[in-house]
Amino acid sequence: MGDALLCVRGLKVGFPTVDGVVKASNAVDLTIQAGETLALLGETGSGKTVLGMAILRLLQPNTRIEGEILYRGRDLLSLPQEEMQKIRGREIAVVLQNSGTSLNPVLRVGDQIAEAITLHRGLKGAEAEAAAVELLERVRIADPARMAREYPHRFSGGMRERALIALALACSPSFLIADEPTRGLDAVTKHEILALFSEINRGRSVLFITHDIEAAATLATRVAVMYAGEIVEIGPVDAVLSSPAHPYTRGLLESLPARGMRPIPGSAPSLIAPPSGCRFFPRCPCSVGRCETEHPGLVPVGPGHCARCMLYD
């Protein structure tokens, strides 16, 4: 084990609603080493984004959060607001999903990037602007000096994604959360963005949130698979993708077009009243009797490879 940069312990996130509390994250434990890229895989609604937003404390104020998020040994959840503002952007930055709406439509793209630079690096005016153009060039936007003066609506989907990446890189954060950066992009643009990420994740820790297994395989050193607010399998990318231990991970891989495109039967459970015992058992092809009543823990199945399943208990 190297140096843990970020350590999430027993993270529980609940959103109170009129129908009850939505348990979007249930006792998540996760460690991210300095310099590694961890892919967080899972389908929509499995709690991936919530985990990312919880790290930056950007969830709605009425959200119930329990547990610990240690960043360089400091618990982010108990940090005062001003300290948190110093960490956001400078230490931990995020590339939000929905690149179409994540840039302010009434401000020039260059100004928005310069803003991040001004906030943390203290550069002003022309200096900040020059730094913004440099960042746009680094994410390979053609004619960066001209595009910096354009408004977001003049940017294509791929360019907006690049601009958001430039925004996140503005203060050279040591930890980057990328929330589905390849979503809604065509295959060519997607590969360009992935190539860009494999360049910027050098010497930097990245939490790469995605539902794209191929993207995870390209970039990540380790993979964590989330299902219904829990991590069901975590391990080195080769081990998890070549010999998946959890039935859900196997199902995910088999649902890929290249591997037979067999969907997982059923649909994701309600997070207000999740199934008792193992959360995957109603859809699981290998469930046994005690899956219904006992909640499995994460058990080791190989070197650095754990799965949350009764089969290995």
Binding site: Q85, R88, T101, L107, L167
Partner: protein, 274 residues
């Protein structure tokens, strides 16, 4: 489109002419508006372009000086109204929760009280000068703007780019000033122009009802004087009609300007320019 642009520039031109007249009133007006300048109730002639009133004051000079009062009432009222509406609206909409709830319930109570009668009662009791009147009008009239701005900010406050800016480590005040304000600014601008028009008319109404500041000349008080002291009965059109026309002119120009601005600003009206 030339038609729309013409309306925009023409109305803006008219407003600017009124502003210039108000600014240079002492130069333009041939007489002091309060002094006896000739025989009373004189018809227009070369010295008195619009004749004189029952107190032998020059009506043309009073008309010119009255521009000041009307513009002050309108624009000062609009500034107060828009600043108050924007600030409170942004804060309430951005923070939401208890702050928003408190502001909205207060507004609910205030908005059940009709604006003009409340203003009348306040002017009767406080006997304010023209500036205080403008501020009171602005505060009362701005209550509606709070609601409009707040409803816009509600959706902006949870917009992805606001979350993104928070993720960059920006403070709330910074986000409100730099990211939310520019997004509501077009609305604020249009609201400013329509409020100015509204407050000018309200100011005229106050003057006509005898609630105007007696130390200044305003068109409302001129119309009141003309109607009560014989202008209508004697058919002295040069006494009654000019202030009325002056009001109509500025009011139309402002309304036109507001519509033209709205068309420019509202993307639904806009033609794509590539």
């Amino acid at each position: 489109m030339p038609g729309r642009n013409a309306a925009l520039y023409l109305s803006l031109g008219v407003v600017l002419v009124y502003c210039a007249v108000a600014l240079f009133a002492p130069v333009i007006a041939p007489f002091d508006p309060f002094v006896i300048s000739g025989p009373p109730l004189a018809p227009p002639d070369a010295a008195h372009l619009l004749g004189t009133n029952d107190l032998a004051q020059d009506i043309f000079s009073r008309l010119i000086w009255g521009t000041r009062a009307t513009l002050i009432l309108g624009f000062l009222g609009a500034v107060v109204s828009v600043v108050m509406g924007t600030t409170v609206g942004i804060v309430a909409g951005y923070y939401g929760g208890r702050i928003d709830e408190a502001v909205m319930r207060f507004l609910d109570v205030m908005m059940t009280i009709p604006f003009f009668p409340l203003l009348l009662v306040l002017t009767i009791f406080l006997r304010p000068g023209i500036y205080v009147t403008a501020v009171i009008m602005g505060l009362l009239g701005g209550l509606g703007s709070v609601r409009i701005i707040r409803s816009q900010v509600l959706s902006l406050a949870v917009a992805d780019f606001v979350v993104g800016t928070k993720a960059l480590g920006a403070r709330d005040g910074y986000i409100m000033a730099r990211h939310i304000l520019p997004n509501v600014l077009p609305l604020v601008g249009v609201k400013f122009v329509t409020s100015a028009q509204h407050f000018m008319l309200v100011g005229i109404g106050l003057g006509f009802l005898g609630m105007g500041d007696p130390n200044v000349v305003d068109w409302g008080q001129m119309i009141e004087r003309a109607s009560k002291n014989g202008g209508i009965v004697l058919g002295l059109w040069w006494w009654l009609i000019p202030p009325g026309l002056a009001v109509t002119g500025i009011s139309l120009a402002l309304a036109w300007f507001a519509y033209a601005c709205e068309e420019r600003i509202n993307p639904r009206f806009q033609v794509m320019r590539v």
